[in-house]
């Protein structure tokens, strides 16, 4: 193998599994260390810079970071990264001194943001400190988009939402609420310098099976119904409710129904339990509230009496793996009939822009999605950028933040007359030694073997009685500290300097995870089997040194390294050092003075 180029920003970035997995590349270990030091405000600001909505995401994020966490591989349960983010948000102090300054004098460029959801808000936050005038349009009476209209209050309290939305709006966004955008052409006529489309994926999918038309007044589309609950138009639901669908919207629908007076609530899902789209913890929370989830039941027919819904007939299937893909085949058992008075349909949603005229130079692909450059998020119309769910379809809030940072850079480059795709600033990595002295490291190197701590919940009866009672209580400072200690500090890297190594084997002998081997060089596949312990996780890189005096190379399997620093502790010549990798992901703020 070739020696590893550790100055490639991606190399050590990949070792920080959580940060690599996070679409916004939040420096997770860095803020977790700050939480352990009770520096909640700084921890919050690190989050705010990367993902813009720490308090909201600390409650609602889909957490791509957690399955990536190294602890999943070294034991089983990841660090509760998401809930630690909430700890930072819950316990932070005054953040105003840390906020970017918005200049009084504008730079003369006007930007229109369509939609007031997370993507548009994040773009506004990035643009405002550079002097841009930002106009934001939304059909709802307030900002926040789906965070306001679709996420129930028992998961995301209104004050948490409003605090983070208002923070950005108050930076100087010109809001145009209750503004139904009906024509892109009309918007273009307003002659802004650039447009950002962040209108989300507002259309819930429907289902065309027998009886659908006849019972339409007993059927609600999940996201529309949640929205009407959020804005107070719907305050109750009665009778027996069936929620169709297996995603997070379905979970929100069933738990909301449970709180609004449904006689019974049942979730019926076409697919198997394990492959449901909903996050595991959302499923667990729904089941903990006594809601049954029935799987492998595709709906066949709505049964009604002259338009009055009686129930639904479901078929029975079982998942069978054919050529590595799941297929559902009928079991041959008789169909199931479930009584129902109301159906909530939560079987997916689409980005849908009927208001964009198709003759403006904005190209759409065969699935009727806008054609967008993945790096710049620019559409085929140079002034128009997309982000959030309206760019590539429904995703989590964290993706909206990630898109927004990219789009803001693009808009800035475009307004400067530069190329949004090719003039983008590069990523970079800084490595800083953490050695403080003899046996002293600036981070808590000791491995904490404790198991993941469980987040306390509000009393079940109390939370079912009131839709505004938040179910998860979050970690207190003590539990937050304990959970923070589980973080392995994967951003404190083991950095090897060949010319200092005397090949004494001290690092090999001490490494608790058998990560390090000195061996003759070979092709990667061969090396992976020749190590002290086999390196079977192919996605995890091998760190290979230059050839050493004994004609061997040092090979470190990054997979299970605990970053305990013992290799550096036991190295007599400092050939190993523990160095913090700071990954620079370009943001527009790096342009600001």
């Amino acid at each position: 193998m070739q020696p590893t180029d550790i100055h490639n920003p991606n190399y050590f970035h990949k070792v920080v599994d959580c940060q690599w997995a996070c679409p916004a590349h939040t420096p997770v270990p860095e803020y977790i260390r700050l939480i352990a030091q009770e520096r909640y405000t700084e921890a919050y600001m690190i989050n705010w810079e990367s993902n813009v909505f720490p308090g909201i995401l600390g409650r609602t994020c889909d957490r791509p970071c957690e399955p990536a966490c190294r602890r999943v591989r070294t034991e089983e349960k990841p660090v509760a990264i998401c809930r630690l983010k909430r700890v930072a948000a819950d316990h932070k102090g005054d953040i105003t001194p840390y906020l970017p300054k918005v200049p009084q004098k504008k730079n003369g460029k006007r930007i229109a943001l369509l939609g007031a959801g997370p993507a548009s808000l994040a773009v506004a936050r990035d643009l405002l400190p550079l002097g841009y005038s930002v106009d934001m349009f939304d059909r709802d009476p307030g900002g926040g988009g789906m965070m306001r209209s679709q996420i129930p209050a028992f998961r995301l309290p209104k004050d948490v939402l409003e605090e983070e939305v208002d923070l950005i709006v108050n930076m100087g966004v010109n809001t145009h609420y209750n503004y139904e955008i009906t024509s892109m052409k009309e918007m273009l006529d307003m002659d802004y310098d650039a447009y950002f489309v962040g209108t989300g994926a507002p259309r819930g999918r429907d289902l065309d099976i027998p009886g659908r038309k006849e019972v339409s007044k007993h059927i609600s589309i999940g996201i529309d119904w949640l929205s009407s609950v959020a804005f107070g138009h719907t305050t109750s639901i009665s009778g027996k409710v069936i929620v169709m669908g297996g995603g997070n919207t379905a979970m929100d629908c069933c738990r909301t129904s449970n709180r609004l007076g449904a006689e019974s609530v049942t979730v019926v899902v076409r697919s198997a339990f394990d492959v449901m789209k909903a996050s595991d913890w959302e499923k667990e929370d729904a089941m903990a509230e006594g809601i049954p989830i029935l799987n492998n039941r595709p709906p066949k027919e709505f049964v009604h009496d002259n338009g009055k819904l009686k129930g639904v007939v479901f078929g029975r299937v079982k998942p069978v793996e054919v050529d590595g893909r799941l297929k559902y085949v009928p079991t041959g058992e008789p169909d199931v009939y479930i009584e129902a008075n109301h159906i909530l349909m939560a079987i997916g949603q689409e980005n849908h822009c009927p208001w964009i005229e198709r003759d403006l130079g904005i190209e759409f692909d065969k699935w009727d999605c806008p054609v967008i450059d993945e790096d710049s998020l620019q559409s085929t119309h140079e002034k128009i950028y997309f982000g959030g769910d309206s760019a590539f379809g429904p995703e989590n809030i964290i993706w909206a933040s990630a898109h927004a940072h990219k789009a803001a850079i693009s808009i800035h480059l475009f307004c400067q007359g530069k190329d949004p795709k090719h003039d983008r600033p590069p990523e970079a990595v800084n490595l800083i030694s953490q050695k403080m002295g003899l046996h002293e490291w600036s981070y808590d190197a000791e491995h904490d073997p404790s198991q993941r701590h469980i987040v306390p919940h509000a009393d079940l009866k109390r939370s079912l009685d009131n839709i505004k009672v938040e179910v998860e209580l979050g970690f207190d400072e003590d539990l937050g500290f304990k959970e923070a200690q589980r973080c392995l500090n994967c951003d404190v890297q083991t950095v090897f300097t060949e010319k200092l190594c005397i090949e004494c084997d001290a690092c090999v002998d001490i490494c608790p995870m058998d990560c390090i081997t000195f061996t003759p060089n070979a092709p990667e596949a061969e090396l992976r089997t020749a190590l002290t312990a086999p390196a079977e996780t192919l996605e995890q890189d091998l760190y290979v040194s230059e050839t050493l005096p004994t004609n061997r190379v040092m090979v470190k399997d990054e997979d299970l390294c605990l970053h305990c620093g013992l290799c550096a502790e036991r190295c007599p010549t400092n050939a190993w050092d523990m160095q913090k990798s700071i990954i620079h992901i370009p943001q527009l703020s790096s342009y600001a003075e």
Binding site: C504, G565, L566, T573
Partner: protein, 351 residues
């Protein structure tokens, strides 16, 4: 010194041996020796060897004297028996322990000061008495604990850290051991575990006195240019003459050797020791020829390594004395102390 304890977490694919233990079960507390000390590599080799032998840790007894080397039994086989004796007196303790209980596997760790200076007399006599044990000397040619004076195994002309040459000729423990009748004599290097681990395994299983001289650099006081016991000097001046490979009963023999170069020696536990000659003129079964070879090489500044001498069907001190096979702790009170009447009978028989 290292203050960070070694995490208990381990690689999920770490191999278990025949009795279901991983290598980590043969470890002990984290070493307090200087970072990079060769002795820590020797400890790691002992850990690996004992794990591969699938002998439970509590069936070992570790004995040592005084010095950096003699601290190391604290850093391996945490669940074994052990005795850290006074300076140079480990052989007496080992002899006593072995007479009392021959069922344990004895691993003695000593150093060049402990065995070649203060304990040279004890070293000679434990060999002569043929105690069945694996006696390892961590040989760094220097007194590390007292800040780097030359030890008795330091080569003439080898310099101190400040460049002062040693004026005395070294004591070669390997030559001594061959000459005094050890039945298993080997030399290795702490930086070459591939060679060292099989030697330790074979030495543990060997019946009779097994001696391994391990060149183990002192990173603090004897790892500079001018030293003949530094990592780089040893790497550049070793001549392996006999490769030892212990084949356990369950192992499949994967390697085929050229005819005439391999000697196969059955061990008492059913395993087989394969000796592969790397030098045509070397005779590992001939005491005089082995000794001549080793000494000649030493004169030329070469360090001969490998299993240098092996006597098959060796006897140990229990055989010579005709003592009981049962450990004392397994003997009943009346056998251990048969009483005044029996003593009287014995005395009478001698009158």
């Amino acid at each position: 010194m290292t203050f960070v304890p070694k995490p208990a977490a381990r690689h999920p694919l770490l191999k278990t041996n025949e009795i279901g233990l991983t290598r980590r079960d043969y470890e002990a507390i984290v070493s307090t020796l200087c970072a990079g000390c060769g002795h820590d590599s020797v400890s790691a080799a002992v850990i690996q060897a004992c794990h591969e032998l699938s002998i439970p840790p509590h069936q070992f007894a570790k004995v040592s004297g005084i010095g950096c080397s003699s601290k190391t039994p604290s850093y391996f086989l945490g669940n074994a028996h052990g005795f850290n004796s006074v300076h140079g007196r480990m052989p007496s303790i080992a002899t006593g322990a072995y007479l009392a209980n021959k069922e344990l596997k004895y691993i003695g760790i000593s150093g060049d000061g402990d065995s070649a200076s203060i304990g040279l007399g004890q070293f000679a006599h434990i060999i002569r008495r043929k105690v069945d044990m694996c006696y390892i000397v961590d040989n760094n040619g220097t007194y590390g604990l007292t800040k780097g004076q030359f030890s008795a195994t330091n080569d003439r002309g080898s310099t101190s850290k400040r460049g002062v040459p040693n004026l005395y000729a070294p004591i070669d423990l390997v030559s001594l051991a061959i000459q005094l009748g050890a039945s298993f004599v080997a030399r290795s290097f702490s930086g070459d575990k591939q060679q060292l681990i099989p030697l330790i395994k074979a030495a543990v299983l060997h019946k009779g006195f097994a001696f391994i001289d391990v060149i183990s650099p002192c990173v603090m006081f004897n790892n500079h240019e001018g030293s003949t016991k530094s990592y780089s000097h040893v790497r550049n001046h070793t001549e392996p003459v006999v490769d030892a490979n212990l084949i356990m009963p369950r192992d499949e023999i994967a390697v085929e050797y050229e005819e005439g170069t391999t000697i196969s020696v059955p061990m008492h536990d059913g395993s087989e020791l394969h000796l592969r000659k790397l030098s045509d003129s070397y005779e590992p079964n001939d005491r005089v020829s082995a000794l001549t070879y080793v000494q000649k090489a030493q004169e030329e500044g070469e360090i001969v390594t490998g299993l240098l001498f092996l006597e098959e069907d060796a006897v140990d001190c229990h055989d010579i004395l005709g003592t009981t096979d049962t450990p004392f702790n397994g003997l009943a009170q009346e056998s251990l102390c048969p009483g005044a009447e029996k003593l009287e009978q014995i005395n009478d028989s001698l009158r």
